[in-house]
Protein backbone atom coordinates (compact mmCIF):
# COMPACT_ATOMS: atom_id res chain seq x y z
CA UNK A 1 0.00 0.00 0.00
CA UNK A 2 1.48 3.33 -0.98
CA UNK A 3 1.92 5.98 1.58
CA UNK A 4 0.68 9.43 0.79
CA UNK A 5 2.49 11.71 3.15
CA UNK A 6 1.06 14.82 1.56
CA UNK A 7 -2.52 13.61 1.93
CA UNK A 8 -1.87 12.61 5.51
CA UNK A 9 -0.46 15.96 6.38
CA UNK A 10 -3.43 17.75 4.82
CA UNK A 11 -5.89 15.65 6.77
CA UNK A 12 -4.06 16.25 10.00
CA UNK A 13 -3.94 19.96 9.34
CA UNK A 14 -7.63 20.16 8.54
CA UNK A 15 -8.45 18.41 11.77
CA UNK A 16 -6.77 21.23 13.61
CA UNK A 17 -9.16 23.92 12.39
CA UNK A 18 -10.93 25.21 15.46
CA UNK A 19 -14.50 24.07 15.76
CA UNK A 20 -15.83 27.61 16.09
CA UNK A 21 -14.78 28.33 12.54
CA UNK A 22 -17.00 25.53 11.37
CA UNK A 23 -20.06 26.29 13.41
CA UNK A 24 -22.30 28.73 11.59
CA UNK A 25 -22.72 32.06 13.32
CA UNK A 26 -26.24 33.37 12.80
CA UNK A 27 -25.75 35.82 9.94
CA UNK A 28 -29.08 37.55 10.37
CA UNK A 29 -29.94 37.29 14.01
CA UNK A 30 -33.57 38.28 13.47
CA UNK A 31 -34.12 35.37 11.11
CA UNK A 32 -31.96 32.71 12.69
CA UNK A 33 -33.51 29.42 13.79
CA UNK A 34 -30.71 29.12 16.32
CA UNK A 35 -31.84 32.20 18.24
CA UNK A 36 -35.18 31.12 19.58
CA UNK A 37 -37.90 33.43 20.84
CA UNK A 38 -40.43 30.75 21.73
CA UNK A 39 -40.51 27.40 23.45
CA UNK A 40 -41.11 25.53 20.22
CA UNK A 41 -38.24 27.25 18.49
CA UNK A 42 -36.00 26.55 21.50
CA UNK A 43 -36.78 22.86 21.30
CA UNK A 44 -36.10 22.82 17.59
CA UNK A 45 -32.81 24.65 18.05
CA UNK A 46 -31.72 22.24 20.73
CA UNK A 47 -32.59 19.33 18.48
CA UNK A 48 -30.52 20.90 15.73
CA UNK A 49 -27.50 21.25 18.02
CA UNK A 50 -27.85 17.68 19.26
CA UNK A 51 -28.01 16.28 15.75
CA UNK A 52 -25.15 18.46 14.61
CA UNK A 53 -22.89 17.61 17.54
CA UNK A 54 -23.61 13.93 17.22
CA UNK A 55 -22.98 14.07 13.55
CA UNK A 56 -19.74 15.93 14.05
CA UNK A 57 -18.47 13.35 16.52
CA UNK A 58 -19.26 10.53 14.17
CA UNK A 59 -17.62 12.39 11.33
CA UNK A 60 -14.45 12.92 13.31
CA UNK A 61 -14.35 9.32 14.44
CA UNK A 62 -14.78 8.02 10.93
CA UNK A 63 -12.19 10.46 9.66
CA UNK A 64 -9.64 9.24 12.15
CA UNK A 65 -10.33 5.63 11.24
CA UNK A 66 -9.95 6.50 7.57
CA UNK A 67 -6.59 8.15 8.09
CA UNK A 68 -5.32 5.23 10.10
CA UNK A 69 -6.61 2.77 7.54
CA UNK A 70 -4.97 4.59 4.69
CA UNK A 71 -1.57 4.31 6.35
CA UNK A 72 -1.30 0.69 5.45
CA UNK A 73 -1.07 -2.67 7.17
CA UNK A 74 2.18 -1.89 8.97
CA UNK A 75 0.79 0.97 11.05
CA UNK A 76 -2.62 -0.53 11.67
CA UNK A 77 -3.31 -1.64 15.26
CA UNK A 78 -4.55 -5.20 15.73
CA UNK A 79 -7.95 -4.29 17.09
CA UNK A 80 -8.81 -2.55 13.87
CA UNK A 81 -8.84 -5.71 11.86
CA UNK A 82 -11.26 -7.64 14.05
CA UNK A 83 -14.74 -8.46 12.87
CA UNK A 84 -16.12 -7.04 16.07
CA UNK A 85 -15.20 -3.54 15.01
CA UNK A 86 -16.82 -4.02 11.63
CA UNK A 87 -20.13 -5.37 12.92
CA UNK A 88 -20.22 -3.40 16.13
CA UNK A 89 -18.97 -0.10 14.80
CA UNK A 90 -20.37 -0.36 11.32
CA UNK A 91 -23.83 -1.80 11.90
CA UNK A 92 -24.84 -1.86 15.53
CA UNK A 93 -23.48 1.53 16.51
CA UNK A 94 -25.19 3.48 13.70
CA UNK A 95 -28.46 1.62 14.20
CA UNK A 96 -28.53 2.37 17.92
CA UNK A 97 -27.52 5.99 17.58
CA UNK A 98 -29.92 6.72 14.78
CA UNK A 99 -32.69 4.93 16.61
CA UNK A 100 -32.10 7.04 19.71
CA UNK A 101 -32.01 10.19 17.68
CA UNK A 102 -35.28 9.23 15.97
CA UNK A 103 -37.00 8.74 19.29
CA UNK A 104 -35.58 11.99 20.59
CA UNK A 105 -36.72 13.88 17.50
CA UNK A 106 -40.24 12.52 17.79
CA UNK A 107 -40.42 13.48 21.44
CA UNK A 108 -39.15 16.99 20.90
CA UNK A 109 -41.03 17.94 17.73
CA UNK A 110 -43.93 20.23 18.53
CA UNK A 111 -47.25 18.56 18.53
CA UNK A 112 -50.70 19.95 18.65
CA UNK A 113 -52.84 17.70 20.66
CA UNK A 114 -53.53 18.42 24.30
CA UNK A 115 -55.75 20.84 26.07
CA UNK A 116 -54.93 24.48 26.24
CA UNK A 117 -55.38 26.03 29.63
CA UNK A 118 -55.37 29.55 28.24
CA UNK A 119 -57.36 30.64 25.19
CA UNK A 120 -54.88 31.22 22.41
CA UNK A 121 -54.57 34.44 20.49
CA UNK A 122 -55.91 33.55 17.06
CA UNK A 123 -54.39 35.24 14.03
CA UNK A 124 -55.27 34.36 10.46
CA UNK A 125 -52.49 34.90 8.00
CA UNK A 126 -53.43 34.60 4.36
CA UNK A 127 -50.67 34.35 1.83
CA UNK A 128 -51.20 36.31 -1.35
CA UNK A 129 -48.79 37.00 -4.15
CA UNK A 130 -46.63 38.56 -2.65
CA UNK A 131 -47.83 39.87 0.68
CA UNK A 132 -49.47 38.70 3.89
CA UNK A 133 -53.00 39.57 4.93
CA UNK A 134 -53.10 39.41 8.71
CA UNK A 135 -56.33 39.27 10.71
CA UNK A 136 -56.54 39.22 14.45
CA UNK A 137 -59.56 37.48 15.96
CA UNK A 138 -61.38 38.28 19.16
CA UNK A 139 -62.42 35.91 21.93
CA UNK A 140 -65.33 34.51 19.92
CA UNK A 141 -63.31 34.04 16.77
CA UNK A 142 -64.69 37.09 14.96
CA UNK A 143 -62.10 39.20 13.09
CA UNK A 144 -61.41 42.39 15.00
CA UNK A 145 -58.39 43.81 13.17
CA UNK A 146 -57.22 43.60 9.59
CA UNK A 147 -53.65 44.55 8.82
CA UNK A 148 -50.86 43.37 6.54
CA UNK A 149 -47.23 42.30 6.31
CA UNK A 150 -46.57 42.54 10.01
CA UNK A 151 -47.26 40.23 12.96
CA UNK A 152 -47.22 41.24 16.59
CA UNK A 153 -47.50 38.67 19.37
CA UNK A 154 -47.36 38.84 23.17
CA UNK A 155 -45.02 36.88 25.40
CA UNK A 156 -46.37 34.05 27.45
CA UNK A 157 -49.68 33.59 25.68
CA UNK A 158 -50.27 30.75 23.22
CA UNK A 159 -50.67 32.03 19.71
CA UNK A 160 -52.47 30.04 17.06
CA UNK A 161 -51.83 31.09 13.47
CA UNK A 162 -54.39 29.89 10.97
CA UNK A 163 -52.82 29.74 7.56
CA UNK A 164 -54.35 29.72 4.14
CA UNK A 165 -53.86 31.22 0.72
CA UNK A 166 -56.00 32.75 -1.99
CA UNK A 167 -53.85 31.95 -4.99
CA UNK A 168 -50.87 29.60 -4.93
CA UNK A 169 -49.14 27.65 -2.20
CA UNK A 170 -47.08 29.84 0.09
CA UNK A 171 -45.32 28.85 3.28
CA UNK A 172 -45.10 30.65 6.57
CA UNK A 173 -41.82 30.59 8.43
CA UNK A 174 -40.66 32.75 11.27
CA UNK A 175 -37.52 30.88 12.33
CA UNK A 176 -37.34 32.52 15.73
CA UNK A 177 -40.83 31.37 16.63
CA UNK A 178 -41.58 28.04 15.04
CA UNK A 179 -41.05 25.73 12.09
CA UNK A 180 -42.46 26.15 8.60
CA UNK A 181 -46.04 25.54 7.66
CA UNK A 182 -47.51 25.61 4.19
CA UNK A 183 -50.35 27.92 3.23
CA UNK A 184 -52.49 25.98 0.81
CA UNK A 185 -55.46 27.40 -1.05
CA UNK A 186 -58.67 25.79 0.04
CA UNK A 187 -57.22 24.39 3.25
CA UNK A 188 -56.62 25.75 6.72
CA UNK A 189 -53.32 24.88 8.37
CA UNK A 190 -52.52 25.74 11.92
CA UNK A 191 -49.36 26.70 13.73
CA UNK A 192 -49.06 27.10 17.47
CA UNK A 193 -46.33 28.58 19.63
CA UNK A 194 -45.74 30.45 22.85
CA UNK A 195 -43.29 33.31 22.56
CA UNK A 196 -40.95 33.80 25.49
CA UNK A 197 -38.43 36.48 24.49
CA UNK A 198 -39.22 39.97 23.28
CA UNK A 199 -37.60 41.24 20.12
CA UNK A 200 -37.91 42.02 16.44
CA UNK A 201 -37.90 39.03 14.13
CA UNK A 202 -38.20 38.40 10.46
CA UNK A 203 -40.08 35.72 8.58
CA UNK A 204 -40.05 34.62 5.00
CA UNK A 205 -42.26 32.82 2.54
CA UNK A 206 -40.61 29.46 2.04
CA UNK A 207 -42.57 27.97 -0.82
CA UNK A 208 -41.78 29.30 -4.27
CA UNK A 209 -44.82 31.29 -5.28
CA UNK A 210 -43.83 33.28 -8.32
CA UNK A 211 -41.67 36.13 -9.52
CA UNK A 212 -41.40 37.99 -6.24
CA UNK A 213 -41.23 35.05 -3.89
CA UNK A 214 -37.85 36.33 -2.71
CA UNK A 215 -39.35 39.66 -1.69
CA UNK A 216 -42.13 38.26 0.45
CA UNK A 217 -40.95 38.67 4.01
CA UNK A 218 -42.78 39.26 7.21
CA UNK A 219 -41.85 41.64 10.02
CA UNK A 220 -42.58 40.21 13.45
CA UNK A 221 -42.44 41.86 16.82
CA UNK A 222 -42.72 40.04 20.12
CA UNK A 223 -44.01 42.27 22.90
CA UNK A 224 -44.37 42.12 26.65
CA UNK A 225 -48.09 41.60 27.34
CA UNK A 226 -48.91 45.22 28.35
CA UNK A 227 -47.02 46.53 25.37
CA UNK A 228 -48.96 44.19 23.09
CA UNK A 229 -52.27 45.40 24.49
CA UNK A 230 -51.23 48.98 23.87
CA UNK A 231 -50.23 48.14 20.32
CA UNK A 232 -53.51 46.38 19.65
CA UNK A 233 -55.54 49.27 21.02
CA UNK A 234 -53.65 51.71 18.81
CA UNK A 235 -54.24 49.52 15.77
CA UNK A 236 -57.94 49.19 16.50
CA UNK A 237 -58.34 52.97 16.44
CA UNK A 238 -59.36 54.42 13.08
CA UNK A 239 -56.77 56.00 10.83
CA UNK A 240 -55.43 59.43 11.69
CA UNK A 241 -57.79 62.18 10.66
CA UNK A 242 -56.58 64.64 8.03
CA UNK A 243 -56.23 67.78 10.09
CA UNK A 244 -54.07 70.06 7.94
CA UNK A 245 -54.74 71.39 4.47
CA UNK A 246 -51.91 69.31 3.06
CA UNK A 247 -53.23 66.12 4.64
CA UNK A 248 -56.76 66.85 3.43
CA UNK A 249 -55.41 67.15 -0.09
CA UNK A 250 -53.47 63.93 0.36
CA UNK A 251 -56.47 62.12 1.73
CA UNK A 252 -58.73 63.17 -1.11
CA UNK A 253 -56.11 61.97 -3.58
CA UNK A 254 -55.89 58.73 -1.65
CA UNK A 255 -59.61 58.08 -1.67
CA UNK A 256 -59.70 58.95 -5.34
CA UNK A 257 -56.72 56.95 -6.60
CA UNK A 258 -56.20 54.25 -4.01
CA UNK A 259 -59.55 53.64 -2.35
CA UNK A 260 -60.60 51.05 -4.89
CA UNK A 261 -58.02 48.59 -3.59
CA UNK A 262 -56.92 49.84 -0.17
CA UNK A 263 -58.79 50.57 3.02
CA UNK A 264 -58.17 53.20 5.67
CA UNK A 265 -60.70 52.96 8.48
CA UNK A 266 -62.11 56.38 9.20
CA UNK A 267 -61.91 57.50 5.59
CA UNK A 268 -63.99 56.72 2.55
CA UNK A 269 -61.39 54.30 1.24
CA UNK A 270 -62.61 50.75 1.79
CA UNK A 271 -61.02 48.55 -0.85
CA UNK A 272 -60.03 45.05 0.15
CA UNK A 273 -58.02 43.90 -2.86
CA UNK A 274 -54.77 45.21 -1.47
CA UNK A 275 -53.28 45.52 2.03
CA UNK A 276 -55.12 47.50 4.68
CA UNK A 277 -53.32 50.80 5.15
CA UNK A 278 -55.04 52.19 8.23
CA UNK A 279 -51.79 52.28 10.21
CA UNK A 280 -49.25 51.72 7.47
CA UNK A 281 -47.10 54.61 8.69
CA UNK A 282 -46.19 52.65 11.81
CA UNK A 283 -45.02 49.54 9.95
CA UNK A 284 -41.39 48.47 9.98
CA UNK A 285 -41.14 48.14 6.22
CA UNK A 286 -43.08 48.47 3.00
CA UNK A 287 -43.98 45.96 0.31
CA UNK A 288 -43.58 42.92 2.56
CA UNK A 289 -40.13 43.74 3.76
CA UNK A 290 -38.82 45.00 0.45
CA UNK A 291 -38.36 48.68 1.30
CA UNK A 292 -37.68 50.84 4.35
CA UNK A 293 -40.72 52.84 5.42
CA UNK A 294 -40.55 56.60 4.98
CA UNK A 295 -42.22 59.25 2.87
CA UNK A 296 -39.54 58.98 0.16
CA UNK A 297 -39.78 55.23 -0.30
CA UNK A 298 -43.56 55.48 -0.12
CA UNK A 299 -43.51 57.96 -3.01
CA UNK A 300 -41.09 55.72 -4.90
CA UNK A 301 -43.41 52.75 -4.40
CA UNK A 302 -46.52 54.61 -5.54
CA UNK A 303 -44.82 55.86 -8.69
CA UNK A 304 -42.52 52.99 -9.68
CA UNK A 305 -43.54 49.86 -7.83
CA UNK A 306 -43.27 47.73 -10.95
CA UNK A 307 -39.64 48.69 -11.19
CA UNK A 308 -39.01 47.90 -7.51
CA UNK A 309 -40.99 44.65 -7.38
CA UNK A 310 -41.79 43.68 -10.97
CA UNK A 311 -45.00 41.77 -11.49
CA UNK A 312 -46.57 42.79 -8.20
CA UNK A 313 -50.32 43.35 -8.31
CA UNK A 314 -50.29 47.12 -7.83
CA UNK A 315 -50.14 49.36 -10.90
CA UNK A 316 -47.79 52.30 -11.09
CA UNK A 317 -49.34 55.70 -10.47
CA UNK A 318 -46.86 57.64 -12.53
CA UNK A 319 -49.11 60.40 -13.85
CA UNK A 320 -49.31 62.33 -10.59
CA UNK A 321 -47.68 65.73 -10.60
CA UNK A 322 -44.80 66.14 -8.19
CA UNK A 323 -46.94 68.17 -5.81
CA UNK A 324 -49.74 65.58 -5.83
CA UNK A 325 -47.32 62.75 -5.25
CA UNK A 326 -45.75 64.49 -2.28
CA UNK A 327 -49.16 65.26 -0.78
CA UNK A 328 -50.32 61.68 -1.23
CA UNK A 329 -47.15 60.12 0.16
CA UNK A 330 -47.15 62.45 3.14
CA UNK A 331 -50.75 61.51 3.90
CA UNK A 332 -50.15 57.77 3.70
CA UNK A 333 -47.08 57.97 5.89
CA UNK A 334 -49.01 60.08 8.43
CA UNK A 335 -51.25 57.06 9.09
CA UNK A 336 -49.25 55.97 12.11
Amino acid sequence: MNRHPALERTFRWLLRIPAWLVLAQPAFASQSPLLAHSEEASRTATLAWVLFSGGLLVFIAVGVLLVVAVRGARGRPAWMTTRGLLVGGGIAFPAIVLGLLLVYTEVVTPRFGGELTVAPLRVSVTGQMWWWRVRYHGANGEPILVTANELHVPIGRPVEIVLDSTDVIHSFWVPGLSGMQDMIPGRLNRLRFVADTAGTLRGQCTEYCGLQHAKMSLDVRVHAPEEFDRWLAAQLAPGRAADTAALVRGQSLFVDQCGACHAVRGSAAAGTTGPDLTHVGSRMSLAAGALPNNVGTMAAWIVSNQHLKPGNRMPEFDRLSGADLTALANYVVSLQ
Binding site: N294, G296, G322, T326
Partner: protein, 122 residues
Amino acid sequence: MTNRPLVRWWLRGLVVLLLGACSAADEDMPPGSLAGADAIRRYGCGTCHIIPGIEGALGTVGPSLAGVARRVYLAGRLPNTPDTMAQWISNPQRFVPGSAMPDMQVSLADARAIASFLGRRR
Protein backbone atom coordinates in the same frame (compact mmCIF):
# COMPACT_ATOMS: atom_id res chain seq x y z
CA MET B 1 3.70 20.14 -0.77
CA THR B 2 6.99 19.18 0.74
CA ASN B 3 7.43 22.14 3.02
CA ARG B 4 5.15 21.62 5.96
CA PRO B 5 5.28 25.08 7.63
CA LEU B 6 4.75 26.76 4.26
CA VAL B 7 1.68 24.70 3.52
CA ARG B 8 0.29 25.42 6.93
CA TRP B 9 0.68 29.15 6.59
CA TRP B 10 -0.67 29.11 3.09
CA LEU B 11 -3.82 27.33 4.13
CA ARG B 12 -4.29 29.63 7.09
CA GLY B 13 -3.97 32.58 4.82
CA LEU B 14 -6.56 31.09 2.50
CA VAL B 15 -9.03 30.67 5.32
CA VAL B 16 -8.51 34.25 6.47
CA LEU B 17 -8.97 35.46 2.90
CA LEU B 18 -12.19 33.55 2.51
CA LEU B 19 -13.51 34.92 5.78
CA GLY B 20 -12.70 38.38 4.52
CA ALA B 21 -15.21 37.84 1.76
CA CYS B 22 -17.97 38.00 4.36
CA SER B 23 -18.43 41.74 4.07
CA ALA B 24 -20.84 44.22 2.51
CA ALA B 25 -21.39 43.75 -1.19
CA ASP B 26 -20.90 47.46 -1.90
CA GLU B 27 -17.80 48.34 -3.80
CA ASP B 28 -14.77 49.61 -1.91
CA MET B 29 -15.40 53.07 -0.59
CA PRO B 30 -12.90 55.65 0.49
CA PRO B 31 -12.76 56.11 4.25
CA GLY B 32 -15.22 58.63 5.68
CA SER B 33 -17.97 57.88 3.20
CA LEU B 34 -19.37 55.01 5.24
CA ALA B 35 -21.66 57.38 7.15
CA GLY B 36 -23.03 58.72 3.89
CA ALA B 37 -23.58 55.28 2.41
CA ASP B 38 -25.27 54.19 5.61
CA ALA B 39 -27.59 57.20 5.57
CA ILE B 40 -28.46 56.58 1.93
CA ARG B 41 -29.45 53.03 2.78
CA ARG B 42 -31.45 54.07 5.82
CA TYR B 43 -33.46 56.70 4.00
CA GLY B 44 -33.92 54.46 0.98
CA CYS B 45 -32.68 57.01 -1.55
CA GLY B 46 -32.00 54.15 -3.95
CA THR B 47 -35.70 53.52 -4.45
CA CYS B 48 -35.88 56.67 -6.57
CA HIS B 49 -32.31 57.19 -7.77
CA ILE B 50 -29.60 55.12 -9.40
CA ILE B 51 -26.62 55.53 -7.05
CA PRO B 52 -23.33 53.83 -8.02
CA GLY B 53 -21.69 52.21 -5.04
CA ILE B 54 -24.92 51.39 -3.22
CA GLU B 55 -26.17 47.89 -3.83
CA GLY B 56 -29.74 47.79 -5.07
CA ALA B 57 -29.97 51.55 -5.69
CA LEU B 58 -31.59 51.37 -9.12
CA GLY B 59 -34.58 53.66 -8.85
CA THR B 60 -35.90 55.39 -11.96
CA VAL B 61 -38.20 57.99 -10.42
CA GLY B 62 -35.61 60.75 -10.27
CA PRO B 63 -32.36 61.34 -12.20
CA SER B 64 -29.39 59.06 -11.75
CA LEU B 65 -26.83 60.34 -9.25
CA ALA B 66 -23.92 58.89 -11.19
CA GLY B 67 -21.31 61.60 -11.55
CA VAL B 68 -23.50 64.11 -9.71
CA ALA B 69 -20.37 65.71 -8.29
CA ARG B 70 -19.44 67.01 -11.73
CA ARG B 71 -22.78 68.60 -12.40
CA VAL B 72 -22.96 72.40 -12.51
CA TYR B 73 -26.53 72.69 -11.21
CA LEU B 74 -28.59 70.70 -8.76
CA ALA B 75 -32.33 70.46 -9.25
CA GLY B 76 -31.93 72.66 -12.27
CA ARG B 77 -31.26 75.82 -10.33
CA LEU B 78 -28.86 75.44 -7.40
CA PRO B 79 -25.13 75.83 -8.05
CA ASN B 80 -23.58 72.52 -7.09
CA THR B 81 -21.49 72.81 -3.96
CA PRO B 82 -21.34 70.42 -0.98
CA ASP B 83 -23.30 72.97 1.07
CA THR B 84 -26.11 73.47 -1.43
CA MET B 85 -26.32 69.73 -1.96
CA ALA B 86 -26.79 69.17 1.76
CA GLN B 87 -29.39 71.94 1.88
CA TRP B 88 -31.25 70.44 -1.06
CA ILE B 89 -31.26 66.97 0.44
CA SER B 90 -32.59 68.17 3.77
CA ASN B 91 -35.30 70.41 2.32
CA PRO B 92 -36.11 69.93 -1.35
CA GLN B 93 -39.55 71.50 -1.17
CA ARG B 94 -38.00 74.81 -0.18
CA PHE B 95 -36.08 75.07 -3.45
CA VAL B 96 -38.54 73.40 -5.82
CA PRO B 97 -42.05 73.52 -4.37
CA GLY B 98 -44.07 70.74 -5.90
CA SER B 99 -41.05 68.58 -6.58
CA ALA B 100 -41.68 64.85 -6.50
CA MET B 101 -38.83 64.61 -3.98
CA PRO B 102 -40.57 64.89 -0.62
CA ASP B 103 -39.21 66.45 2.51
CA MET B 104 -37.85 63.43 4.32
CA GLN B 105 -36.75 65.09 7.53
CA VAL B 106 -33.13 64.33 6.76
CA SER B 107 -31.02 65.75 9.54
CA LEU B 108 -28.35 68.22 8.47
CA ALA B 109 -25.64 65.85 9.68
CA ASP B 110 -27.04 63.03 7.56
CA ALA B 111 -27.47 65.39 4.62
CA ARG B 112 -23.83 66.46 4.88
CA ALA B 113 -22.70 62.85 5.07
CA ILE B 114 -24.75 61.97 1.99
CA ALA B 115 -23.45 65.01 0.13
CA SER B 116 -19.92 64.01 1.07
CA PHE B 117 -20.50 60.48 -0.22
CA LEU B 118 -21.98 61.72 -3.48
CA GLY B 119 -19.26 64.30 -3.81
CA ARG B 120 -16.64 61.59 -4.13
CA ARG B 121 -18.46 59.94 -7.01
CA ARG B 122 -17.20 61.89 -9.98
